[in-house]
Symmetry: C2
Subunit: 456 residues, 2 copies
């Protein structure tokens, strides 16, 4: 049976196997199971940093599983793994379902993992049904989407899209704060050395030209509160907000904590504290976000006023221009704060910004959005409520996803499902098996619809 | 010649050898020479954390040097090294000159080092002159005075004074922020394991009962701006201000930086930033100091709002009661800040304080202060100015010193000399060779005067 032979009703009736999806998902979480928060066997978070030993194990499992589902598997120079179930036509690229298997240091079981597992489940349904597609169907596991170990998020889809140079990505050093969780090496690993270490530095050049796609669909938990608080079931993601990541150095002067009056200090940590407080005020006034996740104060001694503080800085806004505005405002504000700290000794603090990552706002592709919208409406009809379509809404993503980069090269869109309390990047991140299955059924249908649309 | 045979004039004429003192001091700084700030051979700071390999080397040198000066050397269970040049009377404890050879991670060449070297120079002058004392004269190198590697300052004089239990001191773990500078061990060293590693876990019980002293004199750079800005040469230290060290945990909730509105956050780092800003305001309003030297945010990922922040906290005040007041005020203020952060989700941050070290204000002993005052006035007479006595002033120490703990058990006082810009705990910490010699001459005379006073 070919997708193009199905009736509209038959497409709308496609569903994944909820229990199998949940079982596979939690099975894959045996590698890197993290902080325990409940008594149940799956009541833990995840700690599976990109290219760690645990990541290697789940990658091996991914390849074994997709190979058993008759996929052709390739690995590129960024360790991205592409598994393609061939379609009837050999001369066209596959439609991909993709996300990532890496997690935050204190992450959950759904962020990224659900997206990849929905791809595997889609293949299983197709196998089971004997459903053949016109173009192939691929599942891709992107490397280091989180940016938690190597400090650029979505870096490997970024290289694939030729938006980030391979050399820059390969040269990224692991973040010191999480290094001990991912490696026993004494020197910090680079992305390249970490790829080599777990034998996932593949032979295929990392590029959309070498591994083309017809489209990219990604299922994800919302990671925010909108769906769950409105009691809605599916978010049709039409856009992703803009964000920039910076490394900021505040340079002051080391001095004794016990003998140095405040007006004689150029305390880089005190100045940084004022900057963090001001950053929230300024971002809030523009309806944007600004956050510090990593901070390091040197020399790191109780009785020495820190002369150097480095912190990560993450600005997000629905529109790219707003990020620019917040950045410009804060550059001024931080300079003012720095100038005040140490002026008593004529040696004021200084601030240096380094832009590490820039992801402008993105709008997804209308064709993909339509496939997702139709599929979502079909799936939520199961709810059997009078106005089931109201269970579906369009939504903007607050977080970045690999779909941001695939959208630069191929039609792309995403599907969100609710998660408990809108919580993510936390061990207690949770979505019900039913919501996961709803989302995966939307993926399954969207891929089928897209395949039919391509060859209509 | 015995000290008791000298005339007042002869005592007042005693001087150390300026060039030899400077040469010995910089010689001892070959072990652990730190950050370079100028072109000269001695234009570097020091990085000689307690019980590091560099500290072992300077300890070995200290023992060799004092042994050659006919001292009997003992090492106690805290690695304190006591070198005693015997006096005429064998049945009485020696008068000690003491300080420390460990430094901050980004420290200078004078803090502590000058105090120990002034003791060695004193012995050299006595040898050279054939000057014998009634009681012995000792030089002591106290272990981990800085509290930079093991986070309790003056810990080993504290154990000697039986103010800190040996087990607690031995069990102290090295500070993670400086661990990589001091050791190649993968697990953090404890003080005991570090003592064993460099073979300085001595056999003598660490106690003033086992290693008694008649008195303790300590020469130190001021580490503050008072002497240098007034153009004064010697500070007769009569008191040390109070301080307390805390480890503070701020507990919030990990969550995603890109999807979590400010009002849905319990951002432990944002709350900590507000606390740091408030701490300065409150301390300043009481004329006290409050400082954060170490900070750690977990999980330490760019796109995760930190759910746990730990920081060191150092409160200082001229009076013990003021430290108590500032602590009480800040406990309330920090609780208020914590309560606001996360109240939107009904999961406000919490703050936990742990007191790690408490050093009440100290007043030194009148007998020692008098010896220092007379000696200082005698030495600054060299300046040959009309009112040379105005070059000497009494002063309170802002920093803690081993003399704080010796003062609990034996008559103690200190001598300060000016240092450039009042700067300390910084590689550029600097005192001129002349000021160092002035201070050391005061030590020499003070010890002689004390010896004469004891046996008058
Ligand atoms: N989905 C997700 O958490 N991605 C990480 C990149 C980001 O920080 O938004
Ligand atoms: N003198 C000195 O720097 N001692 C360290 C203890 C303190 O923090 O005051």
């Amino acid at each position: 049976m070919y997708t193009t032979d199905l009736s509209e009703e038959q497409v709308s009736a496609l569903r994944v196997n909820k229990d199998r999806l949940a079982k596979d998902l939690h099975y894959s979480c045996q590698w890197g199971a993290g902080i325990r928060w409940g008594d149940g066997s799956t009541d833990t978070g995840m700690q599976r940093l990109a290219l760690s030993d645990e990541d290697k194990k789940v990658r091996d499992w991914f390849i074994e599983t997709t190979t058993n589902l008759k996929c052709r598997v390739t690995v590129d120079e960024m360790g991205n793994i592409f598994a393609v179930r061939p379609g009837r036509r050999k001369d066209v690229p596959a439609t991909f379902i993709g996300s990532h298997l890496d997690t935050q240091p204190t992450g959950g079981r759904y962020d990224g993992i659900l997206g990849v597992l929905s791809g595997i489940e889609t293949l299983k349904v197709m196998e089971e049904m004997g459903l053949e597609t016109e173009g192939g169907v691929g599942v891709v596991n992107w490397t280091n989407e989180e940016g938690a170990r190597f400090p650029v998020s979505m870096v490997s889809s970024g290289v694939w899209a030729e938006c980030i140079p391979l050399e820059r990505a390969h040269g990224l050093k692991e973040v010191p704060t999480v290094a001990s969780l991912s490696t026993a090496a004494s020197a910090p690993e680079t992305m390249k050395s970490a790829l080599e270490k777990i034998k996932y530095l593949g032979p295929v050049p990392c590029s959309y030209k070498e591994t083309p796609m017809a489209a990219h669909f990604e299922l994800h938990i919302e990671q925010g509160p909108h769906l769950v608080s409105a009691g809605q079931r599916v978010g049709v993601v039409t856009a992703v907000q803009a964000y920039r990541w910076y490394h900021i150095d505040v340079i002051g002067r080391d001095t004794h904590t016990g003998t140095t009056a405040f007006q004689h200090r150029a305390d880089a940590l005190f100045a940084s504290a004022r900057m963090m407080v001001r950053a929230r005020e300024v971002a809030d006034s523009h309806g944007c976000l600004a956050s510090v996740g990593i901070i390091e104060a040197k020399p790191g001694s109780i009785n020495t006023v820190p002369g150097l503080v480095s912190f990560s800085f993450d600005i997000r806004a629905p529109e790219t221009e707003l990020v620019t505005i917040v950045e410009a405002d804060l550059r001024k504000e931080f300079d003012l704060i720095a100038a005040e700290e140490g002026k008593g000794i004529g040696k004021p603090c200084r601030v240096e910004w380094r832009l590490d990552f820039d992801s402008p706002a993105v709008k997804f592709h209308q064709d993909c959005i339509e496939c997702v919208q139709q599929s979502a409406e079909a799936v939520v009809a199961d709810a059997n409520v009078p106005d089931s379509k109201s269970l579906v809404r369009t939504i903007m993503s607050g977080a970045g996803h690999d779909s941001v980069f695939t959208s630069k090269r191929v039609p792309t869109s995403m599907i969100f499902i609710p998660c408990k309390d809108g919580l993510s990047h936390h061990p207690e991140e949770f979505s019900t098996a039913e919501d996961c299955a709803t989302g995966a059924s939307v993926v399954l249908q969207a891929v089928v619809r897209y395949d039919r649309k391509r060859f209509a």
